[in-house]
């Protein structure tokens, strides 16, 4: 009796979690296709908010900027993170453990605090606000994710493969390119997607570090909502969610926790 009761409770619990997680998103996506500006029912299908969105240069600019920043962040964070992971895997050096441990707090520290610290720091060194600061901030946030994911993949790598390659005359770069990188490529792709997602969805740090005329998409959405809510925001949000979810699903597929390697 209690067994079935617990099983039912578990299912109910799961259903509630999924409901509260996805219902608001579905409502928002649903409303982005509704003709009424004031979310009135009955539902009347329309693409007019997407059309309006297409003509809104402010939002398009912000979206372009966001994608651009995310791509630059992804490239820098993936290269640095992969290099760091390989170095941590290959070499023994003083302070290695300390470095590895220090990678984790940035993931746990609230972005609000990280953002504040970065703002103070960038003003301190004279860089101030602006796209360069945003990119540096995003790279710093994304780097630990890349290192964690790539290192997890490297942990399954057999180091004697590198030794075998060296015994056949391959120098360090050839070993890396021909033996190590092919093995960890799935981890690198997953890490890159995480980096893209961290940057593209980033609000707090971007809000602190971007200049008013130079907002990223999440920042623009936030400021637009404060001025007044239009279904255009629903439309752009729907697009972001679709893109982000696609990116995360691919990332999960390529990293180990997505199941079969």
């Amino acid at each position: 009796m209690s067994g079935t009761f617990l099983a039912r409770l578990g299912k109910l619990w799961l259903a509630l979690i999924l409901f509260f997680l996805y219902a608001p998103i579905f409502v928002m996506a649903f409303m982005s296709f509704n003709a009424s500006q004031y979310y009135q029912l009955p539902f009347e299908f329309s693409l007019k908010w997407y059309e309006k969105l297409a003509g809104n240069t402010e939002i398009i600019d912000a979206a372009t900027r966001s994608v651009g920043i995310a791509i630059i962040t992804t490239i820098i964070a993936t290269i640095l993170g992969t290099a760091a992971s390989v170095a941590l895997f290959r070499f023994e050096f003083r302070g290695k453990r300390f470095l590895q441990v220090m990678l984790f707090p940035p993931i746990a520290i609230p972005w609000l605090i990280t953002g504040t610290a970065m703002l103070i720091f960038f003003f301190g060194i004279g860089l101030g606000r602006g796209t360069p600061s945003v990119i540096i901030g995003h790279v710093a946030l994304a780097l630990p994710y890349v290192i964690v994911v790539v290192s997890a993949r490297l942990a399954t790598f057999d180091a004697t493969l590198e030794e075998a390659a060296r015994s056949m005359g391959a120098d360090g770069w050839t070993v890396t390119r021909r033996v190590t990188l092919p093995w960890i490529s799935s981890g690198i792709i997953a890490g890159a997607l995480f980096a893209f997602a961290v940057s593209f969805d980033q609000f707090v740090v971007s809000y602190f570090l971007s200049e008013p005329g130079d907002s990223t998409l999440p920042v623009l959405i936030y400021t637009s909502i404060r001025k007044g809510f239009t279904p255009e925001i629903n439309a752009i949000s729907t697009i972001i969610i679709v893109v982000s979810m696609a990116v995360m699903l691919v990332a999960a597929r390529f990293s180990n926790f997505g199941g079969e390697r």
């Binding site: 057999d158 060296r166 015994s167 056949m168 021909r178 093995w183």
Partner: protein
């Protein structure tokens, strides 16, 4: 092909002396075994010759070139790893061709030499397979082909056969020897299997606690072990110090060093029911404790005043109708007595 010479190599890891003043010569074209228990330094020595480990002091010469400061990729060696270390993302042919591509020999030449190497290890049809599609023995052959395809100056094998089951291992021992003979490459291999070392090599180096205890041809090391460790590690040895009792007559060979110990290998002892008549033999009496039949051969454990003596002989050479508890005579020729320095 080249001669390898290791002189006075010392290597410490922290407070552990992994190699302590090790010297050994590996003449051109020979097959050499480094033998020792785990932790003896045999793998460290092999990896030092390969160039994965740099010695603290001492010299390593391959051919005419001193290589102790040369990194592994510049030493022109071939190495086979215990787990084979085949590249899982590459085909068999690409695995074998890796070293050729690094050396940029050209596509035609590369293809020809991969084909030759595959033929040599009798895997002609398997070039397109991936390593995970091969059996253990086939993987081992690929690893061997990959190690020799670049015509390295020396071939280094790290416990090459330990991952195979017994029957396959014996096959591969002969195969390895055949290939080594065929290409005449100087070969050094690490093993903890004394039988493998005796079977395959022209010269054995026995290591213990980072020291080279003894180096020499298998028969010489087997018949003249320098100490009890070597005597017991390479085969078995009955220590004769405590043999006593009625009829005990242990002859001492002329070459027994001062403070030395006498021992005799189990296969050199003859069992008889009465006192043997010959002159130049040692004798003693012992009680049969156990007799283990193993087909052609039999092992007997006998006891003399609290000392167990092991005898291995052809089953048909053991007197018939003897039973456990019988008092028997043991004898062995003086020249088969091992004189071992130290105790």
């Amino acid at each position: 092909m080249a001669e390898v010479s290791v002189q006075n190599i010392t290597k410490s890891f922290g407070s552990l002396k992994a190699l302590n003043d090790v010297t050994m010569d590996f003449p051109d074209g020979g097959f050499f075994a480094l033998l020792g228990p785990s932790g003896s330094g045999k793998t460290t020595l092999l990896r030092t010759i390969a160039g994965f480990i740099f010695a603290d002091s001492g010299s390593i010469r391959i051919g005419d070139e001193f290589v102790e400061n040369t990194p592994v990729e510049k030493r022109d060696i071939g190495m086979m790893f215990q787990n084979y270390a085949l590249f899982p993302n590459m085909t068999v042919a690409d695995n074998i061709g890796f070293g050729l591509r690094v050396r940029k020999v050209g596509a035609t030449e590369e293809k020809r030499r991969i084909g030759e190497a595959l033929e040599l290890v009798q895997l002609g049809q398997h070039g397109d397979r991936k390593p995970h599609q091969l059996s253990g023995g086939q993987r081992q052959r690929v690893a061997l082909a990959r190690a020799i395809v670049t015509n390295p100056r020396v071939l280094l094998l790290d416990e090459p056969l330990s991952a195979l089951d017994k029957a396959l291992r014996v096959d591969m021992q002969f195969e390895l020897k055949r290939i080594q003979r065929e290409i005449g490459i100087t070969t050094v291999f690490v093993t903890h299997d004394q039988e493998e070392a005796l079977t395959l090599s022209d010269k054995i180096g026995i290591l213990r606690d980072g020291k080279m205890i003894q180096a020499g041809p298998p028969r010489e090391v087997y018949n003249n072990p320098v100490d009890l460790f070597t005597a017991a590690f390479l085969g078995e040895a009955n220590i004769l110090s405590d043999i006593s009792g009625d009829g005990a007559d242990i002859r001492t060979p002329a070459n027994l060093p001062a403070g030395g110990t006498l021992a005799v290998r189990p296969e050199n002892i003859t069992i008889s029911t009465s006192k043997p008549g010959e002159d130049a033999i040692s004798t003693c009496q012992a009680v049969l404790e156990r007799r283990v039949f193993a087909g052609a051969m039999a092992t007997c454990i006998l006891r003399n005043n609290g000392t167990d003596i092991k005898v291995i002989s052809r089953d048909q050479d053991i007197p018939p109708n003897i039973a456990e508890g019988d008092q028997l005579w043991l004898s062995w020729p003086v020249e088969k007595t091992l004189s071992i320095s130290g105790s």
